[in-house]
Amino acid sequence: MDFNLTKEQADIQKAAREFARGEFDPDRILEWDRNQEFPVSIWKRACDLGFQGVHFPESYGGQGLELLDHALIIETFCRQDSGIGLAMALSDFGAEMVLAQGTDEQKRKVLPFTAQGKGLMTLAFLEEGYDLLTFQTISHKNGNGYVIQGKKSYVTLAGMAQHVLVVCQAESNGPEEQSIFLLTKDAKGIEQAGMGDRLGMRMIPMQAVSFHRVAVTGQDLVGQEGKGSSYLREFLNTARVEAGAAGVGIAQGAFDRALDYARKREQFGKAIITFDPIKNKLADMVTRVEMARGLVYRAATCLDQKRPEDRWTLLAKMTASKAALEVANDAIQIHGGYGYMTEGQVEHFYRDAKTLDLFMESGSIEKSMLADQIAGRV
């Protein structure tokens, strides 16, 4: 058991750190967060420098690296800024599903496109009152093709994404049988509506997307008809690792700032880091960061070793998003009044952490999934 990063992994981390430090401009960050704008310029630079899609095979525009490498980049970006890091992580949301299940043609169409900064993609799966088992968006069979009817909510970057994966209930099949289609955003019958302002993850605009009798062909189907739920489950394993990596980065970034502030800030004639309550808080924060990091790296390694286990990815995402929330909360407290101010930066980490915890599936839903798994094994 080796807990150290390889030389190559450490180099990737270092390169990502240098890039993030050099290019994430604090004034622009405030603007992007305030205006709820995707940071296009940073994303393009990140793609140019090869930071996006590193875990795709070289033949599909990637570098043939592992999910852990990708996770390290997300973590490092989030450490510098939670908003940009999350935006980078979600710029190709759903790509791993195409990578795992798509045809060669689908992979060629989508993967190099996102990795090389030509455009964004998204996955439309959440619905109001959704439960992962039954969706209201339905794909009706129609001759050799299908017609999609329904509405998805909280679709990340839907307004900008060229490619949209949509998870549908397969008509006339059982409740857990779903089909997934890869559409382009200009397909006839797709309509978008804004979803208002968000608490955090504000650099990732989200829309509600309606599908009005959208006609698709069998070639747009990802994998096999009716197998969508297992693809979604497989994808969520990857997505949880990515979200977990973001959580670790947010927690680490909030901790960095708190440590720095505690060293510089003087009250009662001493740096506040010399006071026990502050020191103890910092110790709690490190504990949370390292617990989360250990679980996220482990979950990533499980997937890289082709031993996907929901247990580890659930643990990773739950622990990391909670760590992000708690550490950012402590970071605000250490900063005092300044922590509550926009310019103190940590409030931005805190809002993003809370949003991350609720994104995709809330921590409490993850916990009940884990509980079901554990109980099921008894």
């Binding site: 959440l126 608490l199 009250q267 009662f268 509550y340 805190y350 409490s364 916990k367």
Partner: protein, 380 residues
Amino acid sequence: MEILNYTEDHMKFRERVRSFFEQEVTPHVDEWEKSGITPKSIWKRMGQEGFLCTSVPREYGGMGADFLYSLILSEELVQTSHTGLAAPLHNDIVVPYITSFGSEELKKKYLPLCVSGDMISAIAMTEPNAGSDLASIQTTAEEDGNDVVINGQKTFISNGINCDLLIIAARDPSTSDAYSGMDLYVVEAGTKGFEKSKKLSKMGWQSQDTAELTFTDCRVPKGNRLGTKGCGFLMLMEKLQQERLLCCIIAVAGAERMLRDTLRACGEKVDFGKPITKLHNNRFKIVEMAAEVRLGRVFLDKLVADHMEGKSIVVDVSMAKFWTTEMAMRVADQCLELHGSYGYCEDNPMVRAWRDMRVLAIFAGTNEIMKGIAVKFMNL
């Protein structure tokens, strides 16, 4: 047996406040959150209705009312889903300094205007380098003939932009002792050298005009000093108790509101084929939250009763401040969690409440300072 005994008059007052807020405040709250400030006209309307400074004695235009009126007003304000109209700050934190420690002349001059809403007040203690360590403030008030000349900078000042009247903590540079060198002065907005230098952008309290204030050779008459010379720090220590009690009120009333509104919303929303509130693992969480909120309420009401009887509440209010504000944050966190994805949408009123609650653990003495005070008084 009730802990607090509300009379018919109290209940009528609550109804009047509630209906006024529903009609004249709540409909404008979103707009105020966007503009980052409340209009002075609403303060004036509050004054006209008799909702400002109810505790001020009748001879200065107030009602001479008990603290239950303050409690009622603060609780009802929580229901409006915003904090910008910081009447409790004006009514129960700032103005009491003038009522308790102002000269007859200052009381006659300012109290009626504070009651009528013609003057909005603020208090400036915190500085960029003096937060928890209040005694280390650097703002100076130097005596010069019949005047004092104020120089320095204050930050995170609530009502900072709207204020017409400011109480400022400053030190006499001729006294080396930090505690006995501190005084409080009343400064009118518009006085030469008093600049409202910057409105601050923050995570919550977005309709509140929190600001940075700068003083450059700002000259006020010596008569604007509150209390005896050198007693500034003591006055602050005395009045901070009620300020902390108000934090507890906002925390407990806020948690009650969040729980009530979340149960209402999530009782109608279906997930996994059931209302969210009926999902098994949510039900225990809701009960736990309800228990915490209830504990907070009992603690708070008892503190209010003790405070009204004139008992010393220093230790209890310090404990209550950190416990109730942290409880409110836990409840806020859980409420958003129950909402799932809708828990991060700003059109969900619980999201604003989550952002607003966070500062309660920081201002009026951070929760770490609260624990420190309790430690001292418990001789630990």
